[in-house]
Symmetry: none
Subunit: 216 residues, 4 copies
């Protein structure tokens, strides 16, 4: 399989028709239509959740035919994933270096928590998650687009802390990442308690210090 050019019009979700390197024959894909579809989807997604994102509704709102959507995305979840990714990538930033692991983590996690709790992203993520459980291909793409980028940022922060000597070099990094993001996603999705800045701080502090009474 050829790897799609990053940023090329064919690099939509990886679920789309794979790009070929040869000369582009025939009428080229309409960039206008692509953008209209993603914009309409994002709007529907935030207004009323994935349940409101029907192919018909997107087509109507984007002024585009259903066939055009199906040509490039296999399911409405794929469109939604693409729309969500596009929105989030614009807001992505490089994790800043505050000089301490605690500071870096708070700097990274608080804005993220702020975003996902203000807009109704929880129901979007939950819906995508549901699809990911059943559809292997979609699941991989979901993780690549939604889960991994943030995880990579946090990984960078942890590695910086190792370099500083703040944490042990043999730290189980993957588990540590789950320890950080797990509780945040838990509150986001289960909704049993608020995902506020106080909680983010508590999680970071408790993960760093541990629960058990220090010996002695």
């Amino acid at each position: 399989m050829t790897v799609p050019e990053p940023g090329s019009p064919l690099d939509t979700t990886g679920l789309a028709v794979p790009a070929s390197a040869q000369a582009a024959r025939g009428r080229p894909r309409s960039e206008k239509a692509r953008k209209a579809i993603l914009k309409a989807t994002a709007a529907l997604l935030l207004e009323r959740g994935l349940a409101a994102v029907s192919m018909d509704a997107v087509a109507l709102r984007a002024g585009v035919s259903k066939a055009t959507i199906y040509r490039w995305w296999p399911t409405k979840e794929a469109v939604a994933l693409d729309a969500l990714y596009t929105r989030w990538e614009e807001a992505a930033r490089h994790p800043s270096d505050t000089g301490s692991l605690r500071g870096d983590l708070l700097e990274l996690l608080r804005p993220w928590a702020g975003i996902v709790r203000t807009a109704p992203y929880a129901r979007v993520i939950a819906a995508l998650l549901t699809r990911a459980q059943t559809d292997q291909v979609f699941g991989a793409e979901y993780r690549r687009r939604i889960v991994q980028p943030r995880r990579d940022q946090a990984r960078e922060v942890f590695l910086r802390a190792v370099e500083r000597g703040e944490v042990a070099a043999d730290l189980n990094l993957e588990v540590a990442l789950d320890l950080i993001y797990g509780p945040l996603y838990h509150r986001l999705l289960q909704g049993h308690a608020p995902l506020d800045d106080a909680f983010v701080t508590d999680v970071v502090d408790m993960v760093l210090a541990g629960i058990r009474l220090q010996a002695g």
Copy 2:
């Protein structure tokens, strides 16, 4: 949270006590139909996920009319929640006392992880979760039935540890619970890495000890 009156329109789950003391006029509810519905739903749920649980399919498989289902449950998610709860309650146990917080947690979490990773429960939970994002009433019921029972078990374990003097009395218990269950649900739902016993152990150990290098 108020407990819905059995038989009341707010009793969305159908788990009401079959016979109440008040005057029962007319033909009584068919217990046979109730069980057939839950059984058929559970089967469909595990075989093919919530997507396969349509009211028509359940009615057909249970040998019951659609009207009967709608009379007792408002949505298919409510039926599914009921079916899942019924299955899980049978397997519920009182958390045993191993003498240490670490031992109690492992004793509690490992069997749970074993269950949810063997059968395809992840997609069921994800689907219920999705509905919970949008439907407030359902969300409350979902948490009461699925999330809280396990959480209560773990809370009991933590309180025992406080009594033992193993952890500080001012431990932020709710955050601690999220620190334990968050990572487990994270792997269960996001699927980026396995939810095996090694991971459960790592989480417990890391939460207890903390990440940061001990001073010195």
Copy 3:
């Protein structure tokens, strides 16, 4: 196979779900919907031909759901056939006895020609005919409903003429019927010349007398 009761709500085209003699369980068929569908179809048919009779259009115009149409008719041609039949049956009359074969035939054929040439029935018949070429079941039904009734009327007229001694008793009746209706349908469908009363008269006279010069 049970024979549907003539005039019963299940006797639609014979293409519909066959009627059973047992007790009617469940909600009975909506007579209102059935009539609305046939009325809407007939209107579309005469206004713009079978091409305009889409299931969507009929459903919209009749204020009925598509599923209801599909429940009772397999194709739009079946609905159209039913609608056309319903319209025509109302206008059906018993062929009157004028005392002569020529008179009877003219009495029978002229009004028919008048009807089919004034309203745009030709395109409807052509379209049904086309479907009948490919679909055996539909073809049989088409002949039973559209072709046979008129043919039976003419057959009656011919038999009366045999009794009168006007034509030979060993007349090949089926060929004679084709000799009468064939030319009329030919002009109706091929459209190379008008189907007017003069033509009807010419056909009848020529069929009765023959083309060849009488010997001698």
Copy 4:
């Protein structure tokens, strides 16, 4: 009727002379493509009827682009008509002179009946007929190509009979033609009875002799 200029937009059939005397600018029309289109259409037509002749299917099968088809034919019916005409013209013969009207007619009609009843031409003709009801331009072309040629052959036969003195000079020729071809088309299209040689003979004999008992 005016004959469309080859290559003009009114030349809906594509049977135009490939090269005209006037200046041919740009790339000349591909004769290869034209033949491939007609061949593919004829194949689809006989295999599965006009319903299977979609522009996409023809383009795919002929190895041609849809635009090329649309450039030379306005509708799929026009292509089908062209394909059918091409096939039939090859088999066209001059009506032979057997010495009698009866013989000439049988000589002309029997082979025709044989052809149309063996291959599934009926559904093709019915479909073209249907289009002809709605589309005036197509209707005229259909008659010119399909109906008139055979009619002209029969007319020639009748005129020969007039010269022979076999039939009256004031015979209404057009009605006579309908009397011959009408019944044949009737059986071909309505399908209520077979279009075999016996029927052809019966029709000819009955038309020549008439139905009515000869006086005396």
